[in-house]
Symmetry: D2
Subunit: 477 residues, 4 copies
C-alpha cells in the first residue's frame, strides 16, 4: 500500500491487480468495482479499467471504461454512472516506460462466437511468444501486446468445442504456461482462475448475495465483503446465477507462490493463502534480528513497506521502534524530477528524516529490498546528515540475483547490484555501518513453514522453465 | 467543404476519409499525413489517427496516434513528432451517436504472422455480419465494431498462403462485399484498393519521390502533391521501394460510383474519377434551372454545399447570384444546443440571413438535399422573416427514398420525408413558394454522361445486394 | 465573420466584442449571453467570459465564468448552468501574442464601495498610461493590464460622490480618452456607453421584455432580439427595472466611427449606425471597379471578408462573380504550422483554389486590405499555379500608412508595406498583373455620405491626440 | 507528510503555506520554489502559484503561474521553465467549498506606483472587513476575496510616503490586525514579515548564497537549505542584494503562537520557533498517558497525524506501540464519495485496520482532535469489527469549544461536538471504552514551557479581539 511505487526509481513493480463481482440479486456493481480498484491501486498505477455486464439487458450488454492513469483520474461520476450492470470486472496495470499505451489497458473486451467476453489478468505467460506465433500461423491478428489477448484467443477457440465458457477457460489453461491470476466475465458468468503454481494471489469474498474475486483481501475490506477463501492454485471458480462452483482438476502437487508478494508487493492488511502479509513481514524482521543482530538505539522502517519488518526487528531485538521518516504523499508520478545534483534529489523531495529521532543515535534502517542500490545509498546519507552515528541496514529479503518471469519486473542480472558486488562491497557503497540480508533458507518461516513458494529471483530455481530469452517488453511498441 | 456537417441535425454524413503516403527517399512523412487529414476533415469529424512505419528501423517499426476528436484536437507537436517514418496512413472518421468510442478509431494497427499491418478504410461492407460469424466459428475474436477488423482478419488469413501482402489483400477482396476504399500499410509497402464498383473515391498523387493515396484530390493540393490518376474500381495499387505497380484483375464491367459524392460529400475543389465536383454541382444547378424554372430576383445557395449549384442555377436562369447567408464557423460540434423554442434555434445560431440581400426579393434558395425537412423549413422561415416575398426551393438531388448501405448514413425510409409525403406536401410543410428536385433521369449529366454511378438512395436499384436487414450500427455498444 | 482571423498571419484584429442583456421579467439570461457571444466571436478569439447578476438574489449576487479560448471551449453545460441571473454581460477578447493571460479576461468583476460591478469594454484608451500613473500616485493597485481596470477605478472613485452608478460612469467618461464601447453591470442595472467619437459600435435591442446591448446587430439576430437603435456616440443608456433611459449630455459635434469596421471587422449581416456593412462593402467593390477597372473574365473574393466587395466589383464592372476559393474551416488556432517551405504553407492548408473556376482566366482578386503583403503574395501565386493568366488585385480599403490607437492592431508604420513601398513596388512583389486600392477620398460613400468617420490609419488624421509613444502592449507581462 | 487533509470530512484545515527565495548569485530559482511548495502541500491543496522576478531583466520583470489544484497538477515542465528569475515567491492554498476560484489564487501579483509586487500570505486578518470598507470609501476596487489584496492596498498607499518598500510593509502592518505570515516580493527585494503575535510560523534558511523564507523548516530540508532562525513575531526581514536585514521595532511583549500548528497542522519533521513538532506531539502523548492512563495491549495512532502522539503514549505508559492502520494514499480529493451506507464509507476506502494487530486486543487509539465526531466514530467501529475488545480513545488536544479567527477553519461553536456534549456523551457516541482529552493547562509543556501561545479555540481567550461577527467566507462568491 502507499505511494512507495513512486518513491523509488529503482524499486520493483507488481504488474497488475484484478477485481470481479457478481451480484446475484441484480444490484448495480460499478461503484463496488471502483472502490475495489482503489484498494488494489498499489499493484499498478499505469492504467485501469472496468467492464460491466447487465444480465437483465439484451444478450448481456457489456460496457467498459478504460484509460491511462490512476483510478482517481480515469473515472468520474459521468463515466462511472454509465456502467450499469450486475457483473463487473476491473483491472489496474503497472506502468513500465515502453509498453504504456491505451491499447494495452485491461480488461480486454471482445466479441467472439458466443457473444462478449471481458478478461483481466495478473501475471506473465512464459510461452506467450510461442503461442502468438502459433496463433498467427492460423490467421490470428493481435491488436495489443498483452497476454490477455493470447488467453482470449485460446478461450475463443476452445469455446467452439466446449459446452460452456468455464470449460473453454480450462482447456485454454492447458495451453498457457507461466503465472496468471485471471478473471473472465461472460455475459452471464464470472470466472476466476489461478495458474497451477499459484504464483499470483486471488481470493473469493462475499457480501450479501454478491460474490467477489480480488487479487487481495484488502479489496474485500474496502467494499465490506467477507473473505471466503483463496482460489487455490490450479482452481477455476465459476459464479453464475446458480451460485458458485469449483473445478480443481488442473491442480498439481506443488505450488510456487511468489514470496515477494509477502515481502513487498501486497498490502500488509491483506491475507494471501491464509497467511497475514503483516505477520510475514514481522517475521522477516524477527529473523533479521536473529541472524544479523547489532547494537543500536532505534529501529526505523523505510516507509511504507519497511515499517512492519522494522517493527519485527524491534520486537525481537528489544531495540525501540521509531518513526524516522516523513514521506510526502503529494509527490505523484508526474512531478518534475530534479536534475541530478547532490543537494536536490527525488528521494529528498519524497522523503525526509526526522532529525529529532535520529540525531546522535545508532540506527537500524530496515528496507524490503535493494535492486540497484542508488536509493538506499541516498537514504543512508540522509540519516547520517541528520546526525545518525551508525546506520545498520537490514533488508527483509535475500539478495536479488536472478530475473523474474512471473509477473514482476525484477530485472536481468546485470542490473542487480547483488549480482555484481559482494555484500561487503554493497555495504561500503551504501555507506552503511553494517548490512544484513534475510537468509534465503529461512523464507519458509515467513509463511508459517509452507514450502510451496517461488524464490527464483534469489535462487534461480524457476518452477516453470523460463523463456529462452528475456522477452519481457518485446511486444511493446 | 466546411462545417456543414455540424450545421444540420438532419444532414447526411460520409463515413470516412483515408490518406497514405510513402516517401521513397526516406523522408519524414507524419506532418504530410497531418495536413492531408485536415483537407479530408469534412469526411469525418468523430475521430482520427495516423500510423507510420519507418522502413529504416528494425523490422519496420510502426507507431500510431489515434483519438476522438478533430485533427486539430487529437494531434499536437509532442505526439506528432513521435511519429517518425517514411510510410504513413491516416484516417478521419465520422461521428455517429452510438458507435463513437476509442476502440473504433482507425487506422487499425495489428500484428499478424508477417509482422505489422495498419488499415484505414472508407465504406461499408454489406456482408460484414456473415463474415464476422464465419470468422468467429474459426475462433476469431473482435475487439472493435469496425469493418476494418473483418478485412484485417481476411488479409491475415490469406497471407498464410500468399507470396506477398498485396496478394493477400486481393484474396481478401474476393470475400468482402460492398463499398470500400482501402489503404493498407505493411512495414515496407503501401497498398491502395477500391472495391470493384468503386463506390468511394481514391486517388493517386505524387510529390517528388513520394507516392500519395487519398480519398480526394483536395488532400493532394494541401500537401502540394500532383494528381496522377484515380485508383480504378477493382484496382489494387502497391507502392514499394520498387515504385508503384497495379493489379486490375478484379475489375468488372460496371462501376457504381456514389453520385452523392459529387452532389454533397466531396469538396468542390476535388476531382473524382476525372470529373470536377464543382462542375458537377454547377451542372446540377443548371439542370434545376431548366427543369424547375421560376421568376425570381436572386439565387442563394445554402452554405456551403449549396453555393455551387446556386451559381449554376444563376448562370442558366440569368437570375443574379447573391450572397444571402452568413455562416458562423465558430459553432463547433460541442456547442450547447438551445432548448427547443421558436426564437432560438441551432440553425439560427449557425446561420444568419443577410437582410439587405433578401428583403423585398423573390428568392431562389438552392440546397443539396432534404432528409427530414426540419432544417430547410427553418431556413425558409428565416428568409421570409428577412423580407423575402417568395422562396423557391430547389434541391440539387432527387428525393431520398431508400437507405444507403455503402458508406453513408442516408437513413431508413421511414425517416425520409420524401418517402412519406408528396412533393407538394413537402413544399407546403417547408412554407416554400415552390419546390423542385433534380430529375433522377438527368444524374448522368452531372458526371459528363458517365452512367457508372450508384443512385440507389433515389431509386432503390442497389448495385450490390443489400443486407437482409439494416445492420448498420448493430455492433456498436 | 469566420475564421478569417486565423487565416492570415498578417491580418488585422478587432480587440473585443461586448454583449449585455437585462430581462425585466426576471428570466434566466445566461444562455442568451452565450449565444450572443457566438455571434460576436469574430471580434475576439483569445478569451471570453460571462458575468450574471440575479436581482432577486441577496444584494444582487454576481457570478462569472471566464477563460482562455473560444466560447465553444470555455463554456460547457455545467458552468453555464451555474450562471443564474436576469442581468448578464459577456465579452470576447482578441488574442495578441504577449498579453494573452487569464488575468486579462473580461468582464472584469469587482467589489467596490457600492457592491459589485462587472465591466466589459471594446476599445483602447489613449490616456490609460497617464491615468494609471495618476491612480498609482493615490495608492491604486493594478492586477491586470486591461483598460477596464482603469475605467473601473474611475467609476469606483466617482461613485463616492454620485447619486447613482450611471452618474459615476458619466463622470469617469470625462476623464478617460480614446475609443470605448462599454457595458457596465451593477447588481441591478445594465449600462451601455460609447465614447463621444463613437469609434466602436454599440447597439440596443429588445426581445419581449428584455433589453439587449451588443457590439453588432448580428448578435441581436442570433437571439431573436429586434434592433431598436444604435447607442449614439457619447451616449449613456441605463437599463433598470424602470426601463431604459438615456443621457446624451456628453455628446460632441463630430463623430469618428471606425471605417474599418465596415471594410473588415464587422460581420456583413450587421448594421452599424444605420448602415449595412454588406452594402458598404458592395459599395467599396463598385468604387474599385470605377477607379481601377480592368479587363478580366471573373471576379473572386478572398474569403470570407473579400466576398461582398468582389460582388460589388462584379456588379459594377459586369465581369461575372465567381467562387474561386475553398476555405478549410477546420483549421483552428492551434494547428501545427508547417515549417517554412515553398510547397507547404499555412495559407495553402487553410485555402485552396478552385482550379476549374480559375484556369485559363483573367482574374480579379478582391481582398479587404494588405498589411505586410505575405499572405496576398501567396494567394496570387496559388491563383497563377491554378492556371490564372492574369491576376488583378483590388483592395477594398486605402493603403495602411499609420498605426491605429483606437482598438485595432494596425501596427506601427515600419511594419506596413504601403509605408515602405510604392504601389507599383507592392504590385511587383505580389506578382500581380495590376494592383488597385480604394481611393481614400471616396470612403464617405461607403457609409452613405456620412463624413463622421475615422480614417487615421490611412491619413494620420487622428481625431483624438495619439499617445506620445506607442504604448500598446506595454503593460503586458 | 500525508493526505490526512483528504482523509476526514470533518477535519481541520490550515489555510496556507508560503515560500520565498532570493539567490544573490543570480541563479535560477523557480524549481527550488516548486520543490519547496511540495514540502508545504499539506498546508493547502486547493490552489498554488509561483511568481518570480528577474533582477537582471528590465525593471525586474515578474512572471507568474497560478492555478487550481495540487503543485503536481498546476506545474509542468513547460510552464515551470518559463519562470526565469533569481527571486521567487510561492504559495499553496487550502480548499474551502465556497471560495474556491481562480481569482483567489496566490501569490497576488500587481502593479503599483513603484512597479510590481507579489504577495503571499498565510493567516487571517480580523479587521479585513473594516479595512475593505475604509479602502472602498477612498475609491478602491477589489477583484478577489483574499486578505492579500487588503494588505497590498495598504502597502501601495504607504509606499507613496516611504523611502523603501519594507517601510511600506511596516506601516501597513500598523493597520492590519490578526494573523499573518507574509512574503512580499518587489522587483529587487524579498521581504518576510510575521504579525506581532506570531500566530503563523515563518522561518529563514540559507543555501549557498541564497536566502530562503518558508512556513516550515521541512521546506528548507526539501531544497537542502540550512535553517538559520525563525522570523520573530513582529519582525520584518528584508533580503536584497546587500544581504539580509531585520526590523523588530513592531515587536510586542507577548506572543500568541498557534498551539495547533504543533498538534496537527505542521509536519512533524518541522521545527517551529525552536521547538520540534515531533517532540511536542510525543510530549502530548506522554501527558495523555499520565492524565488518562488505561490498561491496554497496544497503542495505535490514527494516521498520519496521530502517530507521534501514539508513540509518546506508548513510551510513557509502557504499552507497546503498534501499526494498526493502513492508509490508502491513492484516494485523492476528487474521488467519488460513496452514497451514505453503513458498509461503504469514505473512511473505509481511505483507511483499513490491520486485523492481525488488533484482534483480541485492548486498544488505545490516539488521534489529534475531534471536530464533529463522525470520523472518529467510524474508526472506533472499524477497530471493534476487527476484533478489538476495548477501544480507549485519547485525543492529543483539548476539546474544541470556540471558533478560530486566525487562519484555521475551526468552525463556529454550534458545529463543535464538545460544545454540545459532555465528554461522557461524546465517548458514548463514539462507542469508545473510554475517552480522554489533553488537559488544557498542560499545553505549555508541548512547547518546552513557553506560554506565548494561542489556545483560543479551547479557551475562548482571543489574543486579538475577534471580529464582531464570524465573517469568514463572507467575501466568497
Amino acid at each position: 500500500m502507499s505511494n512507495i511505487s513512486e518513491f523509488r526509481a529503482d524499486e520493483l513493480h507488481e504488474e497488475c491487480g484484478v477485481f470481479g463481482i457478481y451480484d446475484l440479486d441484480g444490484g448495480d456493481i460499478a461503484s463496488s468495482v471502483y472502490y475495489g480498484l482503489f484498494a488494489l491501486q498499489h499493484r499498478g498505477q499505469e492504467s485501469c479499467g472496468i467492464a460491466v455486464s447487465d444480465t437483465s439487458g439484451p444478450k448481456g450488454r457489456v460496457q467498459s471504461v478504460k484509460g491511462m492513469g490512476l483510478v482517481n483520474e480515469v473515472f468520474h461520476p459521468e463515466n462511472l454512472s454509465q456502467l450499469k450492470g450486475d457483473i463487473g470486472v476491473g483491472h489496474v496495470r503497472y506502468s513500465t516506460a515502453g509498453a504504456s499505451c491505451s491499447e494495452n489497458t485491461q480488461p480486454l473486451v471482445l466479441n467472439y462466437v458466443k457473444g462478449t467476453l471481458a478478461l483481466a489478468h495478473n501475471g506473465n505467460l512464459t510461452n506467450a511468444p510461442e503461442l502468438r506465433h502459433e496463433l498467427e500461423y492460423t490467421g490470428a491478428i493481435f491488436q495489443t501486446t498483452i497476454d490477455s489477448e493470447v488467453i482470449a484467443y485460446h478461450v475463443a477457440r476452445e469455446r467452439l468445442n466446449t459446452r460452456d465458457v468455464e470449460s473453454a477457460v480450462k482447456n485454454a489453461m492447458l495451453k498457457i504456461k507461466g503465472a496468471y491470476s485471471l478473471i473472465v466475465m461472460s455475459p452471464r458468468k464470472l470466472i476466476g482462475a489461478r495458474d497451477p503454481f499459484g504464483f499470483r494471489p486471488l481470493v473469493i469474498g462475499k457480501r450479501d448475495n454478491s460474490y467477489v474475486l480480488a487479487s487481495e483481501t484488502c479489496a474485500l475490506d474496502a467494499i465490506s465483503a467477507e473473505f471466503v477463501r483463496d482460489v487455490e492454485p490450479g482452481e477455476i471458480v465459476t459464479i453464475s446465477k446458480d451460485g458458485i462452483k469449483s473445478d480443481k482438476s488442473l491442480q498439481i502437487k506443488k505450488s510456487a507462490k511468489c514470496i515477494f508478494e509477502y515481502i513487498y508487493f501486497a498490502r500488509p492488511d491483506s491475507y494471501i493463502d491464509g497467511v497475514s502479509v503483516y505477520n510475514s513481514r514481522i517475521m522477516a524482521g524477527k529473523i533479521l534480528a536473529q541472524t544479523h543482530p547489532c547494537k543500536a538505539d532505534i529501529v526505523l522502517g523505510v516507509p511504507d513497506s519497511g515499517n512492519a519488518a522494522a517493527m519485527g526487528f524491534a520486537l525481537e531485538s528489544g531495540i525501540p521502534y521509531g518513526m524516522g521518516f516523513i514521506k510526502n504523499s503529494y509527490v505523484g508520478r508526474t512531478f518534475i524530477k530534479p536534475k541530478q545534483s547532490v543537494r536536490e534529489s527525488a528521494v529528498k523531495i519524497k522523503l525526509n528524516v526526522l532529525k529529532e529521532v535520529v540525531k546522535g543515535k545508532r540506527v537500524v534502517m530496515v528496507d524490503d529490498s535493494i535492486v540497484r542500490g542508488t536509493t538506499s545509498e541516498r537514504i543512508v546519507r540522509m540519516l547520517k546528515n541528520a546526525g545518525a552515528t551508525e546506520v545498520h541496514v537490514r533488508i527483509s529479503s535475500p539478495p536479488f540475483l536472478f530475473p523474474c518471469y512471473f509477473g514482476t519486473d525484477v530485472p536481468s542480472s546485470d542490473q542487480l547490484i547483488a549480482h555484481k558486488m559482494s555484500i561487503d562491497e554493497i555495504c561500503k557503497m551504501l555507506g552503511a555501518t553494517s548490512l544484513g540480508y534475510l537468509d534465503v533458507n529461512r523464507l519458509a518461516e515467513l509463511i508459517e513453514g509452507d514450502d510451496g513458494y517461488c524464490d527464483a529471483c534469489f535462487t534461480g530455481n524457476y518452477p516453470v522453465e523460463p523463456p529462452k530469452e528475456d522477452i519481457r517488453g518485446e511486444y511493446d511498441q
